[in-house]
Protein backbone atom coordinates (compact mmCIF):
# COMPACT_ATOMS: atom_id res chain seq x y z
CA UNK A 1 0.00 0.00 0.00
CA UNK A 2 2.90 2.35 0.80
CA UNK A 3 4.30 1.62 -2.63
CA UNK A 4 1.02 2.35 -4.40
CA UNK A 5 0.66 5.68 -2.57
CA UNK A 6 4.26 6.59 -3.41
CA UNK A 7 3.67 5.70 -7.06
CA UNK A 8 0.47 7.72 -7.38
CA UNK A 9 1.67 10.87 -5.61
CA UNK A 10 5.18 10.83 -7.14
CA UNK A 11 3.70 10.32 -10.60
CA UNK A 12 1.12 13.06 -10.10
CA UNK A 13 3.74 15.63 -9.07
CA UNK A 14 5.70 14.83 -12.24
CA UNK A 15 2.57 15.22 -14.36
CA UNK A 16 2.21 18.79 -13.05
CA UNK A 17 5.71 19.49 -14.33
CA UNK A 18 4.92 17.89 -17.69
CA UNK A 19 1.79 20.01 -18.10
CA UNK A 20 3.71 23.19 -17.24
CA UNK A 21 6.21 22.48 -20.03
CA UNK A 22 3.84 21.17 -22.69
CA UNK A 23 1.11 23.76 -22.23
CA UNK A 24 3.43 26.78 -22.30
CA UNK A 25 5.09 25.83 -25.63
CA UNK A 26 8.30 25.06 -23.75
CA UNK A 27 8.77 28.63 -22.49
CA UNK A 28 9.14 26.94 -19.11
CA UNK A 29 12.35 24.93 -19.45
CA UNK A 30 13.49 21.96 -17.33
CA UNK A 31 15.75 24.40 -15.42
CA UNK A 32 12.71 26.53 -14.57
CA UNK A 33 10.89 23.40 -13.40
CA UNK A 34 13.75 22.41 -11.08
CA UNK A 35 14.00 25.87 -9.53
CA UNK A 36 10.28 26.49 -9.13
CA UNK A 37 9.46 23.02 -7.76
CA UNK A 38 12.08 23.30 -5.01
CA UNK A 39 10.90 26.81 -4.09
CA UNK A 40 7.24 25.80 -4.26
CA UNK A 41 7.91 22.81 -2.03
CA UNK A 42 9.61 25.06 0.54
CA UNK A 43 6.73 27.55 0.53
CA UNK A 44 4.07 24.84 0.82
CA UNK A 45 6.06 23.28 3.63
CA UNK A 46 6.35 26.63 5.41
CA UNK A 47 2.58 26.95 5.22
CA UNK A 48 2.27 23.49 6.73
CA UNK A 49 0.70 22.04 3.59
CA UNK A 50 3.45 19.66 2.48
CA UNK A 51 3.91 17.65 5.67
CA UNK A 52 0.51 15.90 5.34
CA UNK A 53 1.48 14.81 1.81
CA UNK A 54 4.77 13.34 3.10
CA UNK A 55 2.91 11.52 5.88
CA UNK A 56 0.52 10.09 3.31
CA UNK A 57 2.84 9.18 0.44
CA UNK A 58 6.32 8.82 1.96
CA UNK A 59 8.92 8.75 -0.82
CA UNK A 60 6.20 9.76 -3.29
CA UNK A 61 6.41 13.23 -1.76
CA UNK A 62 10.07 13.32 -0.67
CA UNK A 63 11.74 12.01 -3.85
CA UNK A 64 10.28 14.66 -6.21
CA UNK A 65 11.98 18.06 -5.88
CA UNK A 66 9.26 19.74 -3.79
CA UNK A 67 10.39 17.23 -1.16
CA UNK A 68 13.85 18.80 -1.29
CA UNK A 69 12.24 22.20 -0.71
CA UNK A 70 10.21 20.69 2.15
CA UNK A 71 13.38 19.35 3.81
CA UNK A 72 15.03 22.80 3.45
CA UNK A 73 12.06 24.61 4.97
CA UNK A 74 11.53 22.15 7.84
CA UNK A 75 15.26 22.34 8.57
CA UNK A 76 15.11 26.13 8.76
CA UNK A 77 12.05 26.12 11.01
CA UNK A 78 13.53 23.51 13.36
CA UNK A 79 16.83 25.40 13.32
CA UNK A 80 15.06 28.54 14.49
CA UNK A 81 13.39 26.62 17.29
CA UNK A 82 16.70 25.23 18.52
CA UNK A 83 19.19 28.02 17.85
CA UNK A 84 17.14 31.13 17.14
CA UNK A 85 18.05 33.35 14.21
CA UNK A 86 21.27 31.47 13.39
CA UNK A 87 19.15 28.39 12.85
CA UNK A 88 17.43 30.06 9.91
CA UNK A 89 20.81 30.08 8.18
CA UNK A 90 22.02 26.67 9.28
CA UNK A 91 18.84 24.59 9.47
CA UNK A 92 18.08 24.21 5.77
CA UNK A 93 21.68 23.47 4.85
CA UNK A 94 22.06 20.95 7.66
CA UNK A 95 18.83 19.13 6.81
CA UNK A 96 19.83 18.68 3.16
CA UNK A 97 23.59 18.35 3.65
CA UNK A 98 23.78 14.66 2.76
CA UNK A 99 21.78 15.01 -0.45
CA UNK A 100 23.58 18.12 -1.66
CA UNK A 101 27.03 16.80 -0.81
CA UNK A 102 26.19 13.48 -2.47
CA UNK A 103 25.12 15.30 -5.62
CA UNK A 104 28.33 17.34 -5.72
CA UNK A 105 30.65 14.45 -4.90
CA UNK A 106 29.04 11.79 -7.10
CA UNK A 107 28.49 14.36 -9.85
CA UNK A 108 32.13 15.36 -9.76
CA UNK A 109 33.41 11.79 -9.73
CA UNK A 110 31.21 10.70 -12.62
CA UNK A 111 32.18 13.77 -14.66
CA UNK A 112 35.85 13.02 -14.08
CA UNK A 113 35.64 9.28 -14.77
CA UNK A 114 33.29 9.21 -17.75
CA UNK A 115 33.47 10.91 -21.13
CA UNK A 116 30.41 12.43 -22.78
CA UNK A 117 28.91 10.25 -25.51
CA UNK A 118 26.88 12.90 -27.31
CA UNK A 119 23.96 12.40 -29.74
Amino acid sequence: MDFLKAFLVGGAICVIGQLLMDLTSYKITPAHILVSFVSAGAVLSGLGLYKPLVDFAGAGATVPLPGFGHALAQGAIEGVEEKGLLGAFAGGVEATAVGVAAAIIFGYLVAVIFNPKGE
Binding site: P30, G118, E119
Partner: protein
Protein backbone atom coordinates in the same frame (compact mmCIF):
# COMPACT_ATOMS: atom_id res chain seq x y z
CA UNK B 1 26.48 52.32 -62.20
CA UNK B 2 25.70 48.95 -60.74
CA UNK B 3 25.36 47.25 -64.11
CA UNK B 4 25.15 43.75 -62.69
CA UNK B 5 22.48 44.57 -60.12
CA UNK B 6 18.98 43.40 -60.86
CA UNK B 7 16.04 44.90 -59.00
CA UNK B 8 16.31 45.38 -55.24
CA UNK B 9 18.49 42.57 -53.92
CA UNK B 10 19.69 40.43 -56.83
CA UNK B 11 22.95 40.34 -58.78
CA UNK B 12 23.28 38.73 -62.23
CA UNK B 13 26.69 37.43 -63.19
CA UNK B 14 28.03 38.46 -66.59
CA UNK B 15 30.38 35.50 -66.75
CA UNK B 16 28.65 33.03 -64.47
CA UNK B 17 31.23 31.31 -62.24
CA UNK B 18 31.68 27.57 -62.74
CA UNK B 19 31.29 24.97 -60.01
CA UNK B 20 34.54 23.07 -60.59
CA UNK B 21 34.33 20.61 -57.75
CA UNK B 22 32.58 19.85 -54.48
CA UNK B 23 32.85 17.57 -51.47
CA UNK B 24 30.69 16.58 -48.52
CA UNK B 25 31.63 14.84 -45.27
CA UNK B 26 28.87 13.75 -42.91
CA UNK B 27 28.36 12.19 -39.50
CA UNK B 28 27.17 8.64 -38.81
CA UNK B 29 23.51 9.56 -38.32
CA UNK B 30 23.48 11.52 -41.60
CA UNK B 31 25.14 8.51 -43.25
CA UNK B 32 22.20 6.33 -42.16
CA UNK B 33 19.76 8.85 -43.66
CA UNK B 34 18.20 8.73 -47.12
CA UNK B 35 21.12 10.63 -48.72
CA UNK B 36 23.86 8.58 -47.03
CA UNK B 37 25.17 7.11 -50.28
CA UNK B 38 25.79 10.53 -51.83
CA UNK B 39 28.34 11.76 -49.29
CA UNK B 40 32.06 11.48 -50.07
CA UNK B 41 33.05 10.42 -46.59
CA UNK B 42 31.24 9.33 -43.43
CA UNK B 43 32.43 9.68 -39.84
CA UNK B 44 32.48 6.50 -37.76
CA UNK B 45 31.65 8.46 -34.60
CA UNK B 46 31.06 12.05 -33.58
CA UNK B 47 34.70 12.61 -32.52
CA UNK B 48 36.37 11.84 -35.92
CA UNK B 49 39.53 10.65 -34.09
CA UNK B 50 39.85 14.00 -32.31
CA UNK B 51 39.73 14.87 -28.61
CA UNK B 52 36.77 17.22 -28.70
CA UNK B 53 33.66 17.75 -30.82
CA UNK B 54 34.83 21.22 -31.79
CA UNK B 55 38.07 19.78 -33.12
CA UNK B 56 36.11 17.12 -34.97
CA UNK B 57 33.95 19.78 -36.63
CA UNK B 58 36.91 21.77 -37.91
CA UNK B 59 38.59 18.58 -39.12
CA UNK B 60 35.48 17.81 -41.19
CA UNK B 61 35.57 21.28 -42.74
CA UNK B 62 39.29 21.01 -43.48
CA UNK B 63 38.95 17.56 -45.01
CA UNK B 64 35.98 18.64 -47.13
CA UNK B 65 37.88 21.63 -48.51
CA UNK B 66 41.01 19.59 -49.25
CA UNK B 67 38.93 16.82 -50.83
CA UNK B 68 37.08 19.26 -53.09
CA UNK B 69 40.43 20.63 -54.28
CA UNK B 70 42.06 17.21 -54.64
CA UNK B 71 39.26 15.97 -56.89
CA UNK B 72 40.47 18.38 -59.58
CA UNK B 73 44.17 18.24 -58.67
CA UNK B 74 44.34 21.62 -56.97
CA UNK B 75 46.38 22.56 -53.92
CA UNK B 76 45.69 25.45 -51.51
CA UNK B 77 48.17 27.70 -53.39
CA UNK B 78 45.91 27.53 -56.46
CA UNK B 79 43.01 29.15 -54.60
CA UNK B 80 42.69 32.94 -54.28
CA UNK B 81 40.26 33.11 -51.39
CA UNK B 82 38.51 30.82 -48.94
CA UNK B 83 35.03 31.86 -47.81
CA UNK B 84 33.68 29.84 -44.93
CA UNK B 85 31.70 29.95 -41.72
CA UNK B 86 29.97 27.89 -39.08
CA UNK B 87 27.67 28.20 -36.06
CA UNK B 88 30.14 28.41 -33.22
CA UNK B 89 31.15 31.57 -31.37
CA UNK B 90 33.89 33.43 -33.28
CA UNK B 91 33.28 30.93 -36.14
CA UNK B 92 36.12 28.84 -34.72
CA UNK B 93 35.62 25.93 -37.11
CA UNK B 94 36.26 28.16 -40.12
CA UNK B 95 39.01 30.23 -38.47
CA UNK B 96 41.05 27.23 -37.39
CA UNK B 97 40.50 25.51 -40.72
CA UNK B 98 41.85 28.61 -42.47
CA UNK B 99 44.85 28.53 -40.14
CA UNK B 100 45.59 25.11 -41.56
CA UNK B 101 44.84 25.69 -45.26
CA UNK B 102 46.72 29.02 -45.33
CA UNK B 103 44.38 30.30 -48.05
CA UNK B 104 43.50 34.03 -47.72
CA UNK B 105 40.36 33.82 -45.63
CA UNK B 106 37.07 35.65 -45.58
CA UNK B 107 35.17 34.48 -42.51
CA UNK B 108 31.38 34.51 -42.75
CA UNK B 109 28.57 34.28 -40.27
CA UNK B 110 25.15 33.72 -41.78
CA UNK B 111 24.06 31.04 -39.35
CA UNK B 112 22.68 28.14 -41.40
CA UNK B 113 22.58 30.27 -44.57
CA UNK B 114 26.39 30.32 -44.69
CA UNK B 115 26.80 27.85 -47.59
CA UNK B 116 24.59 29.94 -49.90
CA UNK B 117 26.16 33.16 -48.61
CA UNK B 118 29.67 31.90 -49.36
CA UNK B 119 28.63 30.78 -52.87
CA UNK B 120 27.03 34.17 -53.57
CA UNK B 121 30.05 36.16 -52.36
CA UNK B 122 32.55 33.80 -54.00
CA UNK B 123 30.72 34.20 -57.30
CA UNK B 124 30.86 37.99 -56.97
CA UNK B 125 34.63 37.83 -56.40
CA UNK B 126 35.08 35.72 -59.52
CA UNK B 127 32.69 37.57 -61.82
CA UNK B 128 34.16 40.87 -60.63
CA UNK B 129 37.58 39.76 -61.76
CA UNK B 130 38.98 39.74 -58.25
CA UNK B 131 39.68 36.02 -58.14
CA UNK B 132 40.19 33.10 -60.52
CA UNK B 133 39.34 30.36 -58.06
CA UNK B 134 37.71 30.45 -54.64
CA UNK B 135 36.67 27.73 -52.22
CA UNK B 136 33.43 28.06 -50.27
CA UNK B 137 32.50 25.98 -47.25
CA UNK B 138 30.41 25.56 -44.12
CA UNK B 139 30.15 23.09 -41.25
CA UNK B 140 28.13 22.19 -38.19
CA UNK B 141 28.16 19.47 -35.54
CA UNK B 142 25.21 18.29 -33.46
CA UNK B 143 27.07 18.22 -30.16
CA UNK B 144 28.97 21.51 -30.55
CA UNK B 145 25.82 23.38 -31.57
CA UNK B 146 23.53 21.81 -28.99
CA UNK B 147 25.67 22.72 -25.99
CA UNK B 148 26.28 26.26 -27.26
CA UNK B 149 22.67 27.06 -28.16
CA UNK B 150 20.51 24.81 -25.98
CA UNK B 151 21.26 22.18 -23.35
CA UNK B 152 24.05 19.65 -22.88
CA UNK B 153 23.05 16.51 -24.78
CA UNK B 154 23.19 14.24 -21.72
CA UNK B 155 20.48 16.29 -20.01
CA UNK B 156 17.28 14.25 -19.94
CA UNK B 157 15.02 16.71 -21.74
CA UNK B 158 12.24 16.13 -24.22
CA UNK B 159 12.62 17.71 -27.65
CA UNK B 160 9.37 19.29 -28.84
CA UNK B 161 7.98 18.20 -32.23
CA UNK B 162 9.10 21.48 -33.84
CA UNK B 163 12.75 20.94 -32.83
CA UNK B 164 15.26 20.24 -35.57
CA UNK B 165 18.38 18.12 -35.44
CA UNK B 166 21.67 19.92 -36.14
CA UNK B 167 23.45 18.07 -38.92
CA UNK B 168 26.98 16.84 -38.28
CA UNK B 169 28.76 17.53 -41.54
CA UNK B 170 30.78 19.86 -43.71
CA UNK B 171 30.64 20.74 -47.37
CA UNK B 172 32.93 22.62 -49.72
CA UNK B 173 32.66 23.96 -53.27
CA UNK B 174 35.44 25.15 -55.58
CA UNK B 175 34.29 27.94 -57.91
CA UNK B 176 36.33 29.05 -60.93
CA UNK B 177 36.13 31.70 -63.67
CA UNK B 178 36.27 29.17 -66.48
CA UNK B 179 36.00 25.46 -67.14
CA UNK B 180 33.34 22.83 -67.51
CA UNK B 181 30.57 22.44 -65.01
CA UNK B 182 27.43 23.88 -63.52
CA UNK B 183 27.22 27.65 -63.28
CA UNK B 184 26.04 30.16 -60.71
CA UNK B 185 23.98 32.66 -62.70
CA UNK B 186 22.31 34.87 -60.07
CA UNK B 187 22.49 35.58 -56.36
CA UNK B 188 19.89 37.26 -54.17
CA UNK B 189 20.97 38.57 -50.77
CA UNK B 190 18.24 38.49 -48.18
CA UNK B 191 17.08 41.04 -45.67
CA UNK B 192 16.99 40.22 -41.99
CA UNK B 193 13.31 39.58 -41.28
CA UNK B 194 11.86 38.93 -37.83
CA UNK B 195 8.16 38.37 -37.21
CA UNK B 196 8.53 37.82 -33.50
CA UNK B 197 9.15 34.08 -33.03
CA UNK B 198 11.31 33.51 -29.94
CA UNK B 199 11.23 29.74 -29.46
CA UNK B 200 14.75 28.29 -29.84
CA UNK B 201 13.10 24.93 -30.43
CA UNK B 202 11.17 26.19 -33.44
CA UNK B 203 13.75 27.58 -35.85
CA UNK B 204 11.69 26.76 -38.94
CA UNK B 205 8.97 29.19 -37.89
CA UNK B 206 11.57 31.84 -37.03
CA UNK B 207 13.25 31.64 -40.44
CA UNK B 208 10.24 31.17 -42.72
CA UNK B 209 9.37 34.89 -43.18
CA UNK B 210 12.95 35.80 -44.16
CA UNK B 211 13.24 32.89 -46.57
CA UNK B 212 9.84 33.54 -48.14
CA UNK B 213 10.78 37.21 -48.49
CA UNK B 214 13.99 36.31 -50.34
CA UNK B 215 12.13 33.94 -52.70
CA UNK B 216 9.44 36.52 -53.50
CA UNK B 217 11.98 39.33 -53.94
CA UNK B 218 14.06 37.10 -56.21
CA UNK B 219 11.05 36.47 -58.46
CA UNK B 220 10.30 40.20 -58.58
CA UNK B 221 13.92 41.15 -59.24
CA UNK B 222 14.37 38.78 -62.18
CA UNK B 223 10.88 39.57 -63.47
CA UNK B 224 9.95 35.92 -63.30
CA UNK B 225 8.23 33.32 -61.19
CA UNK B 226 8.37 29.71 -60.06
CA UNK B 227 8.08 28.42 -63.65
CA UNK B 228 11.69 29.52 -64.27
CA UNK B 229 12.94 26.70 -62.07
CA UNK B 230 12.81 22.90 -62.01
CA UNK B 231 13.54 22.89 -58.32
CA UNK B 232 13.36 25.36 -55.46
CA UNK B 233 15.26 24.08 -52.45
CA UNK B 234 15.75 25.72 -49.05
CA UNK B 235 18.57 24.98 -46.59
CA UNK B 236 17.11 23.82 -43.30
CA UNK B 237 13.48 24.85 -42.89
CA UNK B 238 12.44 21.39 -41.73
CA UNK B 239 8.86 20.12 -42.01
CA UNK B 240 7.30 22.96 -40.04
CA UNK B 241 9.23 25.77 -41.71
CA UNK B 242 8.80 24.32 -45.19
CA UNK B 243 5.04 24.39 -44.89
CA UNK B 244 5.16 27.98 -43.64
CA UNK B 245 7.44 29.16 -46.48
CA UNK B 246 5.11 27.56 -48.99
CA UNK B 247 2.07 29.30 -47.49
CA UNK B 248 3.77 32.69 -47.10
CA UNK B 249 4.96 32.61 -50.72
CA UNK B 250 1.49 31.51 -51.88
CA UNK B 251 -0.03 34.51 -50.12
CA UNK B 252 2.24 36.69 -52.28
CA UNK B 253 0.86 35.02 -55.41
CA UNK B 254 3.41 32.31 -56.25
CA UNK B 255 2.57 28.63 -56.08
CA UNK B 256 5.84 26.79 -55.53
CA UNK B 257 4.33 23.68 -53.89
CA UNK B 258 5.02 21.09 -56.60
CA UNK B 259 8.70 21.97 -57.11
CA UNK B 260 9.71 22.96 -53.61
CA UNK B 261 11.74 20.87 -51.19
CA UNK B 262 14.14 21.40 -48.31
CA UNK B 263 17.58 19.99 -47.42
CA UNK B 264 16.52 19.55 -43.78
CA UNK B 265 13.54 17.44 -44.87
CA UNK B 266 15.64 15.35 -47.29
CA UNK B 267 18.62 14.61 -45.06
CA UNK B 268 16.90 12.52 -42.39
CA UNK B 269 14.25 9.83 -42.42
CA UNK B 270 11.35 10.53 -40.02
CA UNK B 271 12.16 7.20 -38.34
CA UNK B 272 15.50 8.69 -37.19
CA UNK B 273 13.72 10.59 -34.40
CA UNK B 274 14.89 13.98 -35.65
CA UNK B 275 11.43 15.55 -35.22
CA UNK B 276 11.04 18.43 -37.71
CA UNK B 277 14.17 17.53 -39.73
CA UNK B 278 17.79 18.60 -40.09
CA UNK B 279 19.32 22.02 -39.49
CA UNK B 280 22.68 23.73 -39.14
CA UNK B 281 25.22 25.11 -41.63
CA UNK B 282 26.26 21.56 -42.43
CA UNK B 283 22.71 20.57 -43.45
CA UNK B 284 22.55 22.61 -46.66
CA UNK B 285 26.33 22.30 -47.12
CA UNK B 286 26.33 18.49 -47.36
CA UNK B 287 23.08 18.24 -49.32
CA UNK B 288 24.11 20.92 -51.83
CA UNK B 289 27.63 19.61 -52.34
CA UNK B 290 26.61 16.00 -52.82
CA UNK B 291 23.03 15.10 -53.67
CA UNK B 292 21.94 18.37 -55.26
CA UNK B 293 24.93 18.95 -57.56
CA UNK B 294 24.91 15.25 -58.43
CA UNK B 295 21.26 15.38 -59.51
CA UNK B 296 21.73 18.57 -61.57
CA UNK B 297 24.80 17.08 -63.27
CA UNK B 298 22.80 13.93 -63.93
CA UNK B 299 20.16 15.98 -65.72
CA UNK B 300 17.32 15.53 -63.23
CA UNK B 301 17.14 19.32 -62.76
CA UNK B 302 18.36 22.05 -65.09
CA UNK B 303 17.75 25.26 -63.23
CA UNK B 304 17.67 25.33 -59.46
CA UNK B 305 17.00 28.08 -56.93
CA UNK B 306 18.95 27.23 -53.76
CA UNK B 307 18.11 29.33 -50.72
CA UNK B 308 20.25 29.08 -47.59
CA UNK B 309 18.14 29.74 -44.52
CA UNK B 310 19.64 31.14 -41.34
CA UNK B 311 18.16 31.67 -37.88
CA UNK B 312 20.35 34.37 -36.32
CA UNK B 313 19.85 32.93 -32.87
CA UNK B 314 21.72 34.23 -29.84
CA UNK B 315 21.03 32.66 -26.43
CA UNK B 316 22.03 35.95 -24.77
CA UNK B 317 19.60 38.02 -26.84
CA UNK B 318 16.82 35.48 -26.21
CA UNK B 319 17.42 35.62 -22.45
CA UNK B 320 17.06 39.40 -22.74
CA UNK B 321 13.62 38.94 -24.25
CA UNK B 322 14.50 39.31 -27.95
CA UNK B 323 13.00 37.26 -30.77
CA UNK B 324 14.95 35.32 -33.41
CA UNK B 325 15.77 37.18 -36.65
CA UNK B 326 16.01 35.13 -39.82
CA UNK B 327 17.80 35.53 -43.12
CA UNK B 328 17.74 33.82 -46.52
CA UNK B 329 20.37 34.04 -49.26
CA UNK B 330 19.65 32.56 -52.69
CA UNK B 331 21.83 31.43 -55.58
CA UNK B 332 20.68 30.14 -58.98
CA UNK B 333 22.49 27.06 -60.27
CA UNK B 334 22.17 26.28 -63.99
CA UNK B 335 23.27 23.20 -65.90
Amino acid sequence: MATKKLGKQTVRFQNPPVILSSAAIAGPKEGEGPLGLYFDQLLKDNLFEEETWEKAERKMLFEAIILAMNKIDLVPEDIDFMLAGDLLNQIISANYTARQTEIPFIGLYGACSTMAESLALGSILIDGGFAAKVVCGASSHYNTAERQYRFPTELGVQRPPTAQWTVTGAGATVLGESGKGLRVSHATFGKVVDLGISDANDMGSAMAPAVADTIVTHFQDIGGNETYYDLIITGDMGNVGKGLVQQLVAKEGYNIADKYTDCGVLVFDPAQDTHAGGSGCGCSAIVFNSYLLHEILGGKFKKVLFIGSGALLSPTALQQGESIPGIGHAVVIEA
